[in-house]
């Protein structure tokens, strides 16, 4: 992982130390990636309370399974995969209880495309984005969040979600198409083409080229 201060242990070293009995190592790892992991959980769960539950469940799971990590992927990829799975599991349980959503995307309460709003209001824009994301099936949402919002490459997203790169591209493309009507009124705010990588050392390589 880049961006580490000199002498600061890498993620893999921290995980090994944790597995070997270092009681502080996992906490350091969690604090290092907490905001990014939170973003994943929040964007997929679309609810702060659910996201908190999912993230907690994921971190405890990672804590327990650290000894199973074989280094076949980056530690961050492994952590993200656990958070994504915990978030989707939570949504699956919610879906099974038929709370608010039948499972059919067409039945979802959708945010009305708004006309004539003050698109410069960033809070409104974020709310629009949140509402729009809710209209996507969770797996599609997860792919779009990872690629477009968090700046992961298609290859990394493929590894995190455990699906092929083609599937990631497909989900991203369909997700963007579904979001377009809901975000059309914000087109004046749309930046130039090209994803904006977030600032905490995430791979800047972008994918999803659909």
């Amino acid at each position: 992982m880049s961006g580490l201060a000199p002498g600061e242990p890498s993620d893999a070293i921290l995980l090994r130390r944790h597995a070997a009995g270092d009681t502080d190592a996992f906490g350091v790892l969690f604090r290092r990636h907490k905001d990014r992991l939170w973003a994943v959980a929040l964007r997929i769960a679309c609810d702060p309370d659910d996201a908190a539950d999912a993230l907690q469940e994921a971190m405890i799971s990672a804590f327990r399974r650290a000894g199973d990590f074989r280094g076949e992927s980056a530690v961050t990829t492994w952590l993200h995969r656990i958070v994504v799975n915990a978030s989707l599991d939570l949504l699956r349980r919610r879906s099974a209880r038929s709370v608010g959503w039948s499972g059919n995307p067409d039945d979802l309460p959708v945010a009305e495309p708004r006309q004539g709003v003050d698109s410069a209001a960033s809070t409104d824009s974020r709310l629009d984005v949140d509402a729009a994301l809710r209209t996507l099936p969770p797996p599609q949402r997860a792919a779009l969040v990872l690629v477009d919002m968090l700046g992961y490459s298609v290859a990394d997203t493929s590894a995190i979600l455990g699906v092929s790169e083609g599937t990631v591209k497909s989900r991203c493309a369909r997700g963007r198409a579904k979001l377009l009507p809901y975000l059309a009124h914000l087109r004046g705010d749309f930046p130039e083409r090209g994803n904006q990588a977030v600032s905490d050392g995430v791979p800047s390589e972008q994918g999803g080229g659909a």
Partner: protein, 285 residues
């Protein structure tokens, strides 16, 4: 992964169609605007309250793991020796036994004989009040630590990691408890308050030992399964819980477990090896 999802979550055309990359450059440009806009949305920051909660949960998990018997796999050994010493201190049951081990080495034989006779007499009299206990001298608090050592030896001898079964480490009646089924609909926002209410309704003694809930309690009581018993004692570090309530949490079936300082919500399948904690909050008085 998609195979585990509800069918409604799957897209009918999951794979990216060949040639779609160049299908419609105008549409592509519009979609890329969506992509760019999403990328411009600031990433949220983990709220302090959530961070504190998760850090506390991880600390509790670390404490729980530190108590477990040393696994055969050295890579997962989280230092059981100091942890076990700490657990014994918390459980407060090691003192008397250590006294009886050490004193015979420094006192005369007659004093030793007197002490042994006194202990034997006490044990026999205590055993007469407890039909099933086999370790009356150690008392309820000391028993899990002692039994845990036996379980550790057993697991090490078998070369096995701890299994899903609760094992014998919490089998004594000294740490037994009953499970109430209040039917309370626990909610995330009021969990601690609801537990305090339950404790007030049933009486804090309701789940200790082999007693049953106090008269007038609204719930029924039952003996826990071995799996649940292992789960509970794993979370409470062998200390008898103040409350184990079979109920619902956020609409989902769950067990609500309370110690003197903390509340856990676990899924019905909770075991000692897999505690299935849904959430955990402090039980502030």
């Amino acid at each position: 992964m998609s195979g585990h999802w509800p069918p409604e979550w799957d897209d009918p055309e999951e794979e990216f169609p060949e040639g779609a990359d160049q299908a419609d450059t105008e549409a592509e440009a519009r979609l890329s605007e969506v992509s760019a806009y999403l990328a411009s949305v600031p990433a949220p920051v983990l709220p302090d309250a959530v961070e504190s909660r998760i850090s506390a949960a991880l600390a509790a998990e670390a404490a729980t793991r530190a108590e477990r018997p040393a696994p055969a796999d050295g890579a997962r050994n989280l230092g059981p020796a100091p942890a076990r010493a700490r657990v014994r201190r918390h459980r407060g049951g090691d003192g008397p036994r250590r006294r009886f081990r050490v004193r015979p080495q420094v006192v005369g034989g007659s004093l030793l004989t007197c002490l042994l006779l006194a202990v034997l007499g006490f044990a026999l009299s205590h055993a007469s009040f407890s039909s099933s206990s086999s370790s009356a001298v150690a008392g309820s608090a000391a028993e899990p630590a002692e039994a845990s050592s036996a379980a550790a030896s057993s697991a090490a001898g078998a070369g096995a990691v701890p299994s899903a079964a609760p094992g014998p480490q919490h089998a004594g009646t000294g740490s037994s408890f009953v499970v109430t089924a209040s039917g309370t609909k626990y909610q995330r926002s009021t969990l601690a308050e609801q537990v305090r209410t339950r404790l007030g309704a049933d009486g804090t003694h309701a789940t200790f030992g082999t007693t049953v809930p106090a008269a007038g309690a609204t719930s029924t009581a039952a003996v826990p399964s071995q799996a649940l018993r292992g789960c509970v004692l794993q979370l409470t570090e062998g200390v008898p819980p103040r409350l184990v309530d079979q109920a619902t949490y956020e609409g989902e079936p769950a067990y609500i477990i309370a110690s003197s300082s903390r509340v856990w919500v676990v899924k019905p399948g909770c075991t000692a090896a897999k505690t299935e904690v849904v959430t955990s909050v402090p039980l502030a008085s």
